[in-house]
């Protein structure tokens, strides 16, 4: 290769025709920086498809997205207690806890090591006062609680009878009574739960902790 250079001054080592540009043509400048993040487009993009089918699928997609947030499969880390323990913590429930799962999968189809306590849905214990000491494995089941109460306090008998009647009447409509119950008679406090306001900052920073490690 070095030998052929001396022969003819104007002979290059490659034929310029093969590369497609002639001598003296200015080449495009070489790139010094990475290409821009949003390169300018030469042509406008084609408009999207329209039509009934497209609209329906769009609506479906948005609905699915919204409803999947409410399903129990949407897992949120439990909120860590950021400051002092509060009196209201005892009566705040409905918060997700890390150690229980909100739906009941078929454990025979899963490896045993994944087995985790299933969180029982809050039963509508109408009128019956829950135990004074809240144990984590609360005795679910109205009958057990009622039996305990019968043992404990006898003057509550008439009240219980009333409430049992209510329960039978309202068996098909547990929702309204649940509202009534949670509001008024929850956990032996004298305060109506919905009046208890924790303030705006309470629990508002739960989303911020998502990226950090949760202990």
């Amino acid at each position: 290769m070095a030998g052929s250079r001396g022969r003819g001054r104007s002979q290059f080592s490659f034929s310029v025709d093969a590369l497609g540009f002639g001598r003296g043509d200015c080449l495009p400048s070489s790139a010094h920086t990475p290409s821009p993040l949003y390169p300018p487009m030469q042509f406008r993009p084609v408009p999207l498809h329209t039509g009934e089918e497209v609209d329906y699928m769009l609506a479906l997609k948005q609905e699915l997205r919204a409803s999947s947030k409410n399903l129990p499969f949407h897992i949120k880390a439990a909120r860590t207690k950021t400051d002092v323990a509060r009196y209201s913590d005892k009566y705040q429930n409905g918060e997700t806890k890390n150690n229980c799962i909100e739906w009941s999968p078929d454990w025979s189809r899963m490896p045993k090591e994944l087995c985790i306590k299933v969180r029982k849905p809050r039963k509508t214990v109408i009128g019956a006062k829950p135990q004074l000491t809240r144990k984590p494995k609360a005795a679910a089941g109205k009958e057990e609680v009622l039996q305990k109460l019968e043992k404990r306090e006898e003057e509550q008998h008439s009240e219980e009878e009333e409430d049992e009647e209510k329960k039978k009447q309202n068996e098909e409509e547990p929702d309204a009574d649940e509202d009534y119950d949670e509001e008024e008679l929850e956990d032996e406090t004298d305060y109506i739960m919905s009046y208890f306001d924790n303030g705006e900052d309470f629990g508002a920073d739960s989303e911020d902790n998502m990226d950090e490690a949760v202990y």
Partner: protein, 541 residues
């Protein structure tokens, strides 16, 4: 797993299942296979959260588990099935297909099963009947038997299938574990189970229950909880879970794509003929076949709906037209029975993919670059000079376009040396386009595009979060006021709480989000086409 695929998986998991599952999922994808302890340790999440996430992923069929490297005595190892995560992008299309084939009932059945991963037949029927009853006018309710009949239709046409039974660790599973590797994380193929499409005999009578409409939110949860806890009630079909058969849906989409391509290229009648041929060979053609079963012209004629005897020679003409078409959708394999015809599935997919590539080049670089691209696809290898001549484009512009395509990796350069020392003056430089690698490249671009679209949508939502929350609150107030029968003056007063510029902002935000969502759906169609093409080339090897 490429970067773009991992990123898209993460975004999809986050959208549907939240941040925790996203973290667990992406880490598992990147690492391949992991045990529970290793996963918890590396993601630094509490063990319980990791367990919950894995439960969710296994429930939806996105994660498989099996005996690990140490054999059945060792810890269980988990791995994520990325393809399954990508199917989440296509859920609206599956549901819409079910609706078009089986009506609202079919739509709701498929939607319920998709959202919950897998369900038993009885719980599906009850939930769907309740939902349908809720939408019906007062006094009517949906009978379970109607839902059961639609469910059985879905199973008969293989759109739903039973979940495969788990292979117990250590024992050899029935059938399809091909690889004798000790890492037995290969799940049994659902099709290998003989009862895959057998309906359980359950005695399910009753009607859908109507929820009280005044407590929508709570009632939703209650009904949903009831549907879930029904799993634990003793049903006759406990343990028999049904899942959506994605492969069958994909075959359906592929057929749809072929039929619409034929109707665009030729005309409506030819597409009807191809549709009939595909329908007849639906059940007999295996999933990865290159051709359908051979059908004789007589059979096709009998199956066509318009059966006037004059139409027979017209049918023959159409068939010969289809066979001669350069797209090669239909091929002739014999002469018995008036001519034996097949639909060339793999070749049709390849042609559709090629059309997609050409369309992409045309829209991004212009029609002349597209001409060069098509030329190279057809003629395989061409020199610079030949490109200019065949494409009839002046040299300077042709050179420019070629280099641009080269820099985007759509066109490759092949060197053919005349001498062993690769001297540039004595080497041929040929431009070429390889369809398969280019299709893979474009598929990665598509994944990146969908990831970008999702991120942009999340950004837009986050930017306007305050405004969205305000509008939601006002809507809730309006709804409650209307329910309690407020006057029009009060309603307008509440509506005016959103000012006009805010309203405009909300409107434009909604418009943007709709556009982004619609684009996602459309890119997913391209993803499906390219993926089917790539899979078909792998299957035929």
């Amino acid at each position: 797993m490429t970067t773009q695929e991992v990123r898209l998986c993460g975004l999809l998991l986050q959208e549907h299942f939240g941040n925790v599952v996203e973290k667990v999922g992406t880490h598992l994808i990147r690492s391949g296979v992991l045990t529970l302890r290793a996963l918890a340790h590396e993601t630094k999440l509490p063990l319980d959260l990791v367990k919950k996430s894995l439960c969710v992923l296994v429930q939806h069929g996105m994660c498989t588990f099996g005996a690990g490297r140490r054999g059945p005595a060792g810890p269980v190892e988990y791995r994520i099935n990325c393809e399954h995560v990508f199917h989440m992008l296509r859920y609206p299309r599956y549901i819409y297909t079910a609706k078009s084939l089986y009506g609202d009932t079919g739509e709701l059945i498929v939607e319920e099963i998709l959202q919950r991963g897998h369900m038993t037949m009885s719980s599906t029927v009850k939930t769907v009947a309740d939902r349908l009853t809720h939408n019906m006018p007062e006094g009517q309710s949906m009978d379970y038997s109607e839902v059961v009949s639609v469910f059985s239709q879905l199973v008969e046409t293989h759109f739903l299938q039973r979940c495969p039974p788990l292979a117990s660790a250590g024992s050899s599973s029935s059938g399809a574990v091909d690889t004798p590797l000790p890492v037995a994380t290969q799940p049994t193929e659902p099709e290998s189970h003989p009862d895959c499409y057998k309906l359980p005999y359950i005695n399910l009578t009753g009607q859908g229950k109507r929820r009280r409409s005044s407590e929508d939110g709570e009632a939703d949860q209650c009904a949903a909880k009831k549907a879930r806890t029904d799993n634990s009630e003793c049903g006759d079909d406990d343990g028999i879970y049904w899942q959506v058969n994605f492969q069958r849906f994909h075959l359906h989409f592929r057929d749809q794509a072929i039929i619409s391509a034929v109707s665009c290229k030729l005309d409506q009648s030819s597409s009807e003929i191809v549709r009939t041929m595909l329908r007849m060979s639906e059940v007999t053609t295996p999933a990865h076949a290159a051709f359908t079963q051979a059908l004789s012209a007589n059979e096709i004629f009998r199956a066509l709906l318009s059966r006037s005897p004059d139409a027979r020679p017209i049918l023959d003409q159409y068939l010969s037209l289809l066979v001669d078409d350069p797209m090669e959708f239909v091929g002739k394999t014999g002469d018995s029975g008036g001519g034996m015809y097949v639909v060339n599935l793999h070749r049709a997919l390849a042609n559709l993919a090629r059309a997609t590539l050409e369309s992409v080049v045309q829209e991004r670089f212009g029609s002349r670059s597209a001409r060069i691209f098509r030329l190279l696809l057809r003629k395989r290898h061409l020199e610079q000079k030949q490109v200019e001549d065949f494409a009839m484009i002046p040299a300077k512009e042709a050179k420019d376009m070629l280099y641009k395509l080269l820099s985007e990796n759509l066109v490759q350069l092949q060197e053919i040396p005349k001498t062993p020392d690769y001297a540039p003056s004595r080497t041929f430089y040929l431009y070429t386009v390889n369809q398969l690698p280019t299709a893979r490249l474009l598929l990665q671009h598509c994944y990146k595009t969908v990831g970008n679209l999702i991120e942009r949508r999340l950004y837009e939502t986050k930017e306007n979060k305050r405004l969205l929350e305000k509008s939601q609150r006002i809507e809730a107030i309006l709804a409650s006021l209307q329910a309690t029968g407020a006057e029009a003056a009060q309603l307008t007063e509440v509506e005016e709480m959103i000012t006009v510029p805010e309203r405009q902002q909300l409107e434009s935000l909604r418009h943007h989000i709709n556009k982004l969502d619609s684009s996602e759906n459309q890119v997913d169609e391209t993803i499906f086409l390219l993926k089917s093409y790539i899979n078909s080339t792998q299957a035929s090897r």
